[in-house]
């Protein structure tokens, strides 16, 4: 047994002494017959960030050299020219929005790759449906009960830690639906039964709740209750402070910044995290999205600063971690009449990690000429989102059953990752 894990975890020690029974995840480890009786095996971690609302990929990573863009976006067009927004040129064709400055060094040292023209083959322009399809990863089947990340966790083999799949959100995201254990926590500090000023009463209350939920007639309450208590025992909120970011590493004070900060804690704590999930909002820029310092610029800055800070925070663990972003669709190539963009088709996503073949924009985009657009208005989807998801899952998480991960899909991954 890995004593270290228990010693650094107060509540666990308490339970190891035989109070309140043996936590289920330890009991499970003991019955797996695994010779190495660590509660879990060390595995890689995939951090997924969903940009809800549909990011304008044409402004985030702009194909500025395509002359059509300037014509269709008279007031929103940007380029590396100082007079046109001082974008960060990537390869003479694409340029990063200046608010994504934090991504530039990661791109240069080839840890960050961009996939462009990415989206779903289902042409829905409904946020809800498109997110649903992307998270279930079955773009034409609404009936799929599970999310693709839950299936991914399942394929990685039975895990004995309650922390293999954690979403830093109030509610479980669609990506995490399914039969494998998954957690949703918006604040790790809340992860305890607390009776202020009365420790023994708190313990008794916790034990009472555990007994009641174990006996719950509703399956949902019973299963979730069990997961909650296992996780609570393992996390022990008293120890969280030890894993705070080092001095000088300051996350943006935003929902995404806070979520990534806590994901970093879980990674540093070594609790067996395999898939983490965070969300970022504010991408639905129908009105006045602005250029350098507008609404979209601010959202992009928070987005890239949060990710870059996270990457610095987990410097010692970078080999084990890959970050992948996603958004449900892109936005119209034309700007609309209110200084914004409406729901479109393809957008772009970012993949960050030491195993990434970075410093490159992967794409099959033809041009932005009207005849090359979908419905004569939108950047068409030239790369299926599953081509990127599968490349990351197959290599980083080392799971290869694409028929289970992405049912009804026979496509190939793009070479965005190095096979180790």
């Amino acid at each position: 047994m890995d004593r270290r894990i228990f010693m650094r975890n107060g509540t666990l020690a308490l339970f190891a002494a035989g109070i309140g029974g043996v936590p289920n995840f330890i009991a499970k480890a003991a019955t797996t017959g695994n010779k190495c009786s660590k509660p879990f095996q060390k595995r890689k971690t995939l951090v997924c960030i969903f940009q809800r609302g549909a990011m304008d990929g044409l402004m985030a990573v702009s194909p500025y050299a395509d002359p059509n863009l300037k014509m269709m976006r008279p007031t929103l067009y940007m380029s590396p020219a100082k007079t046109e927004g001082s974008m960060i040129d990537l390869n003479g064709y694409f340029a990063l929005h200046p608010s994504l400055q934090a991504f530039a060094p990661l791109f240069q040292n080839k840890q960050l790759a961009i996939a462009h023209g990415v989206g779903s083959p289902n042409p829905t322009r409904s946020h809800f449906d498109a997110q649903d399809f992307m998270e279930s990863a079955t773009p034409f089947n609404k009936g799929t009960k599970s999310g693709w990340l839950n299936r991914a966790v399942g394929l990685m083999g039975k895990s004995t830690t309650p922390f293999s799949a954690v979403s830093l959100t109030n509610a479980l995201p669609r990506s995490f639906y399914g039969s494998n254990e998954a957690l949703a926590i918006s604040n790790l500090n809340d992860f305890a039964i607390q009776m202020r000023g009365n420790l023994l009463a708190g313990k008794l209350a916790a034990n009472s709740f555990e007994a009641l939920y174990d006996n719950a007639s509703s399956q949902l309450l019973q299963k979730t209750g069990k997961e909650s208590f296992e996780a609570m025992k393992m996390l022990n909120v008293n120890n969280l402070k030890q894993y705070a970011p080092k001095a000088g590493i300051v996350y943006p004070n935003s929902a995404l910044g806070n979520a990534l900060k806590q994901i970093a804690v879980l990674i540093k704590m070594d609790v067996g995290l395999e898939v983490a999930f965070a969300e970022s909002g504010g991408w639905d820029t129908h009105v006045n999205q602005g250029t350098e310092n507008g609404i979209l610029g601010r959202t992009l800055k928070d987005f890239s600063d949060s990710i870059a800070t996270f990457w610095e925070d987990i410097a010692a663990h970078q080999d084990e971690v890959t970050v992948m972003t996603m958004t449900e669709f892109g936005r119209t190539v034309h700007q609309n009449g209110t200084g914004g963009t409406d729901h479109g088709r393809a957008s772009c996503l970012f993949v960050l990690g030491n195993n990434v073949q970075g410093g490159k924009v992967y794409h099959q985009i033809k041009s932005l000429a009207k005849e090359d657009l979908e419905d004569q208005r939108d950047l068409p989807v030239s790369t299926d989102f599953r081509s990127v998801f599968s490349a990351v899952a197959n290599t980083h998480l080392n799971i290869h059953q694409n028929n289970i991960l992405f049912p009804d899909w026979n496509g190939n991954g793009i070479p965005i990752m190095r096979y180790s």
Binding site: G10, A13, L14, A17, G18, I19, R52, P74, P123, R125, S126, F128, D129, N170, A171, L172, Y177, L183, A184, I185, D190, F191, A192, I193, Q194, M195, R196, G197, N198, L199, L200, A201, G202, L204, A205, N207, S208, F209, A211, L212, Y213, N215, S217, S218, L220, L221, Q222, S228, A231, V237, N238, N239, H286, V287, N336, G337, T338, G340, D342, D375
Partner: protein, 625 residues
């Protein structure tokens, strides 16, 4: 088989008609057709508890028995009428200084202006400079604050707070509970959000003027009220959706082209069309027909064109648009085709006047304002809408997976009564499908419903309602702030997850031990001030008070066994003494309560009444309704 079905349907129709007649004439309520609960295996008390769970935010102590005695049918129709006195609610709102709901929309906008408007006005008046970098952020804020005070403006956060507080107070204490439950339901169906600044000043008025008066109305009235409300017009961007395809606009463009003298670029910028599809899409997908309702992308674009010019009347008196429009009298505006209603403004010069085809219906050119009304009426009466709304109501009031038969019955009621929400609910409670025993306790309470049902079940006095909002946020429901137009997903697996479940348990403990500021409860009073003789008796008595008409035996046994496990208490103490890890836990408690740093007792005292009640509130049974 078919004939049987038809006969069954006819019986239901007759039941419904009888019920409606009874409803119209209050004196006849005694002879009301009984809801079919007995044949479905419910006792009268169980039926009362089930109805109270579904159509209120939770029963108060003794209410189940009272409603069973009064007659559940009588109670239900009284709730449908919604005419119970609410003096205590009004008094409490007054005590809490909740005055914003009494303001007209215009006064609200001018009392609580959004920050952008304040800044623009301050600039215009020379109080602050554009891009003023010479002063610190702090000084800038101070300047603005002083300016707001001088102008008599109040911060918009105060308006948000009042909106939240009034919802909690009404839900907890109103005698017209069905109104409150339906207000919550329809607001979520037609969601708007405080996360969008331009929408924020209108949200309180939206609930008050567009939702509340229509919760039991015909569906088209509700749809139209939401469509024309500034909150919806700004939230889903229709307010800025405009067209050039219009004779008035064409003339203006002609003049503009002449003055610009072939400066093509400037012309393009100033003449650019501004179609915005956001509302047009969501009104079909989320408000009426449902995503599989059978419309196309072409229908979305066409509806957006039909609704061009549907905008918000500029109510902020210091804004430029207000001053512009006030130059013209309402009569002149009306003559020119403008339509003004409360905060709604139709701008004829921005409306697409071309011919259109929407959902297969041809709309000839120059349809003006009226074609928007026609299109929304069409949407309100689509069979797809009847079905979608029926399913939404059934999911909310019956179970996450209501039977197809029930949805069909409600759909028929919708189509036969021009979308009468009242008739749909009457059909629902008269259907045996509603009384399927599997539906009993099948719904998981939303965090809001959990918090309010706790207040009601304990007769709690809430003096700081905002604290309840903070807890709802912790439990996963920051109401009024749900960003997406879908509203909160109305199903158990959205609400219940590991993090939120622990928060629910902690809520129970904090509430019962009165650790939530402003909560006042008198637990002994719930039991006529009799002190229970033992822990077991307390468990039994308070389970029955908080969870009436349910079988609580097993749960009582489980907790009772734990409490009597002396061994367990010993183990906790021993382990704490053996392991220095305990110090860190103690430290945490010391932060909130210094008196905890003391020698550990060798046996723990029996749990207090508040602990027992806290455990019941956090228990799985109490999460269900």
């Amino acid at each position: 088989m078919m004939q049987q079905k038809k006969a069954g349907f006819l019986i239901i129709l007759v039941l419904v008609l009888a019920a409606v007649v009874g409803f119209v004439d209050k004196d006849h309520t005694k002879s009301l057709q009984k809801f079919p609960y007995r044949q479905m295996g419910f006792t009268k008390e169980q039926a009362a508890a089930y109805l109270l769970n579904r159509f209120t935010f939770g029963s108060t102590p003794g209410q189940v028995d009272a409603v069973a005695k009064e007659g559940i049918e009588h109670w239900f129709y009284q709730q449908l009428a919604g005419k119970e006195s609410d003096t205590s609610v009004n008094n409490l709102l007054q005590e809490l200084h909740i005055d914003a709901p009494d303001l007209s929309l215009e006064d609200m906008v001018n009392t609580y202006p959004i920050n952008g408007e304040v800044v623009a006005l301050a600039r215009k008046m020379g109080i602050i400079e554009k891009g003023d970098t010479s002063i610190s952020k702090q000084a800038y804020r101070e300047k603005l604050k002083a300016f707001m005070q001088q102008q008599g403006f109040k911060p918009i956060a105060e308006l948000e707070r009042q909106l939240i507080v009034q919802k909690i107070v009404r839900a907890a204490y109103s005698n017209n509970q069905l109104q409150e439950v339906l207000t919550d339901f329809w607001f979520n169906h037609f969601n708007v959000s405080l996360t969008k600044p331009v929408c924020t000043p209108y949200v309180l008025a939206f609930e008050r003027d567009a939702i509340r008066p229509h919760v039991l109305d015909h569906f088209d009235a509700l749809l139209l009220a939401t469509a024309q409300h500034p909150a919806m017009l700004t939230y889903l961007d229709n307010a800025g959706s405009v067209s050039n395809n219009n004779p008035i606009e064409a003339k203006r463009l002609e003049r503009l082209a002449q003055t610009l003298n072939n400066d093509n670029n400037t012309f393009k910028k100033r003449a650019s069309e501004g179609l915005n599809e956001n509302y047009a899409r969501e009104v079909m997908e989320l408000h009426t027909m449902g995503v599989d309702g059978g419309y196309t992308q072409q229908d979305v674009t066409t509806l957006a064109k039909i609704l061009t010019g549907w905008s918000v009347y500029p109510l902020f008196k210091n804004g430029p648009a207000y001053q512009l429009i006030e130059k013209t009298t309402p009569q002149q505006l009306e003559k020119r085709g403008f339509v003004i209603q409360n905060g709604f403004l139709f701008r004829p010069n921005k409306h697409d006047e071309g011919p259109k085809t929407f959902l297969g219906k041809y709309f000839p050119a120059n349809g003006g304002y009226q074609e928007g009304i026609t299109a929304l009426e069409m949407l309100a009466h689509q069979p797809a809408t009847a079905k979608f709304i029926s399913a939404e109501l059934a999911k909310h009031f019956v179970s996450d997976t209501p039977s197809t038969a029930l949805i069909q019955q409600m759909t028929q009621a919708f189509l036969k009564t021009n979308g009468s929400i009242k008739s749909m609910l009457i059909t629902m409670v008269n259907s045996p499908e509603f009384w399927n025993p599997n539906n009993q306790h099948a719904k998981i309470k939303s965090p809001f419903a959990l918090a309010i049902s706790t207040i009601r079940a304990t007769n709690a006095q809430v003096n700081m309602p905002y604290q309840i909002f903070n807890w709802c946020n912790k439990m996963g429901q920051k109401f009024y702030y749900y960003q997406a137009p879908t509203g909160f997903p109305d199903r158990a697996d959205y609400w219940i997850n590991t993090g939120s479940l622990l928060s629910r348990m902690n809520f129970g403990l904090a509430f019962a031990s009165q650790k939530i500021p402003g909560i006042n409860i008198n637990l002994p009073a719930l039991n006529n001030n009799h002190e229970p003789e033992s822990v077991d008796a307390a468990l039994k008595i308070y389970s029955a008070i908080l969870l009436p008409a349910r079988d609580n035996t097993q749960n009582i046994q489980r907790i009772s066994a734990l409490i009597h496990d002396e061994d367990l208490n010993q183990k906790v103490v021993q382990a704490a003494n053996q392991h220095n890890n305990y110090a860190s836990i103690q430290e945490m408690d010391a932060k909130v309560s210094t008196h905890m740093v003391q020698p550990i007792q060798t046996s723990s005292p029996p749990p207090s009444l508040s602990q027992i009640v806290g455990v019941i509130i956090g228990s799985p049974e109490f999460q269900k309704k």
